[in-house]
Amino acid sequence: MIRLEGVTKRYGATAVVDDVDLDLGHRGVTALIGPNGAGKSTVFSLVGRLLSADGGRVLVEGRDVARTPSAELARCLAVLRQDNHLVARLTIRELVSFGRFPHSRGRTTAGDREHVEAALAHLDLSDLGGRYLDEVSGGQRQRAFIAMVLAQDTPYVLLDEPLNNLDLRHVKEIVALLRTMADDLGRRVVVVLHDVNVAAACADRVVAMREGRVLADGPTAQVITSEVLTQVYSTDVTVREVGGRLTASYFD
């Protein structure tokens, strides 16, 4: 499990994450939702050791993130941020091979190559492996980055808004992928999401945050409700069942 114990992160006097106790990484997909500035990306960065906490601690499988060697954590926890700006020109296969770095430290073995090819196949990228990242579409690029964290072969996978700037066809593809990762490959996926309806469609559990605190944490059906979402987003949200799916509407 990924456990946050009294975790606080301050920028100046404002606490963006305020004394949060939270368990993440249940079986399946856990979505982290909340309005802008709720602290969800900060929680993500604290767990992914991209930021250090001002108070409390983050434990991954019982090991304190601040004290465990980074290389060891990288074999347990894969992290993908939303802005993946690259200076170097890499092919998709080269990028995905970086996912094996925590295991091989750069000396790629036959086993590593198998993992890379498997990850490419899972994301339907096998034919595109030799293409450069700057010559593929946004959706293919995003899939390539997800293939990289898949090749990292970790029990936990953290993704920060992987659906940003994707059109709805690609959103559907990635959502299906998250389900495959959780259901078929047994990864415990934690994903920061902006869109409540996407969270309702793909998550088993939802954590709702607001102003640096956790407002609700539980199975999707318990969190995606009119009451909870209205409170989380401070605006009227109605949740209805449309075609068997929970759907939030917020324009009425």
């Binding site: 992914g48 941020r81 993946n84 020109r89």
Partner: protein, 356 residues
């Protein structure tokens, strides 16, 4: 999921057409597999590096063996020292620029932006200002030691100040470098204004880079320093590859980003200091050779871009020296040639970036 029809076609179009096994080889149809094999050969990183190395060997041979005025052995003795200096400078500048580019995630700024040339100019100016022009002639070793020591100290102090506390931003580091560079340059200029004109002339000459007739002792010391720096980087080549993904992704892949960057920047400062103290500042050389190396290398991996940058540097410096000695008849300095070419290239890079 879907497959991209364009991509499938792309993967197919280099494949040679299949031939029936018993048909006699048709010269017209043999062309296609040959072209395919040539393309494959050309796309291999080792091919590119080997070709580059051959070119550098050719330039070196041309420099050493052509246009010998008197005794060949004497010419070789003098010229080998120049070649050795070129190799040391090319290794230091090429490696440090590529590593700096990777660490700062940009391909335009080079370590000289941190004010290395300004520190060098200030130390040389101060030496001449205080001790007169004799300071540059007599004890080169002391001056070299002072320069290397001060440059490494200054940059290490800057790095630990910027990375030791909470404020750790490379943009801040670069900005501080620029401001410090301007301040140090102004200080040096102020001293140069009050200097004896004769001293000033000697100093100006020393501030231009020159790789001919390096002091043997300094050459060996610099070579040892640069070799140590490069040896320290060798085991880090895979980590450097990971750093190209950016700090967040590198951390996610288990690289201790802050510590690694500090170590890398320390090695960079030693390399640049050793080279600058040996031959003087060559500002745009790093930018030039690093970018040429990226364009030439068939792989973005540092195992290839680093040696290619060094080879580019050696080829470019020797070529420039060749032009300087044989074509221009010593009527210029290496600095002018390097900065002119490098400056034009820099403009080209900036304009191309702006056009995108």
């Amino acid at each position: 999921m879907r497959t991209d029809p364009e991509a499938v076609q792309h993967a197919d179009d280099h494949r040679p057409p299949r031939q029936p096994d018993d048909s006699p080889p048709d010269p017209w149809r043999m062309g296609e597999p040959l072209r395919h094999r040539l393309l494959q050969w050309w796309a291999r990183p080792v091919t590119r590096t080997a070709l580059l190395a051959l070119a550098v060997v050719a330039i070196t041979a041309a420099y050493l063996l052509t246009d010998v005025p008197g005794s060949l052995s004497y010419a070789l003795q003098v010229r080998t020292r120049t070649v050795a200096a070129v190799v040391v400078v090319a290794a230091a500048i090429g490696v440090s620029s590529v590593v700096f580019h990777t660490v700062t995630a940009n391909r335009i700024l080079t370590p000289s932006i941190l004010g290395f040339d300004a520190v060098y100019a200030l130390i040389a100016t101060t030496a001449v200002f205080v001790f007169g022009s004799a300071a540059l002639g007599a004890d080169r070793l002391e001056l070299w030691l002072a320069q290397v020591g001060l440059m490494v100290l200054a940059s290490t102090a800057l790095f630990s100040w910027l990375f030791g506390g909470r404020r750790r931003s490379l943009h801040l580091l670069l900005l501080v470098g620029i401001v410090l560079g301007v301040a140090l340059r102004s200080l040096a200029e102020w001293m140069q204004r009050m200097m004896d004109p004769l001293d000033f002339e000697v100093l100006t000459d020393a501030l231009f880079a020159s790789i001919t007739r390096p002091d043997t002792q300094l050459l060996w010391l610099s070579a040892a320093l640069v070799a140590t720096g490069c040896a320290a980087l060798f085991p880090l080549r895979h980590v450097l590859d990971v750093l190209t993904l950016g700090p967040a992704a590198a951390t996610g892949l288990g690289v201790d980003h802050r510590r690694t960057v500090l170590v890398l920047l320390a090695v960079v400062s030693v390399l640049v200091a050793a080279s600058t103290a040996l031959v003087g500042p060559v500002l745009f050389l790093g930018l030039l050779v690093a970018n040429l190396s990226y364009a030439w290398s068939a792989s973005a991996r540092h195992a290839w871009t680093l040696p290619n940058a060094v080879l580019m540097g050696a080829g470019f410096l020797l070529g420039a020296q060749l032009v300087l000695e044989r074509v221009l008849g010593y009527s210029g300095t290496l600095s002018v040639l390097v900065e002119f070419t490098g400056g034009l290239f820099f403009l080209y890079l900036v304009l191309r970036k702006a056009a995108r």
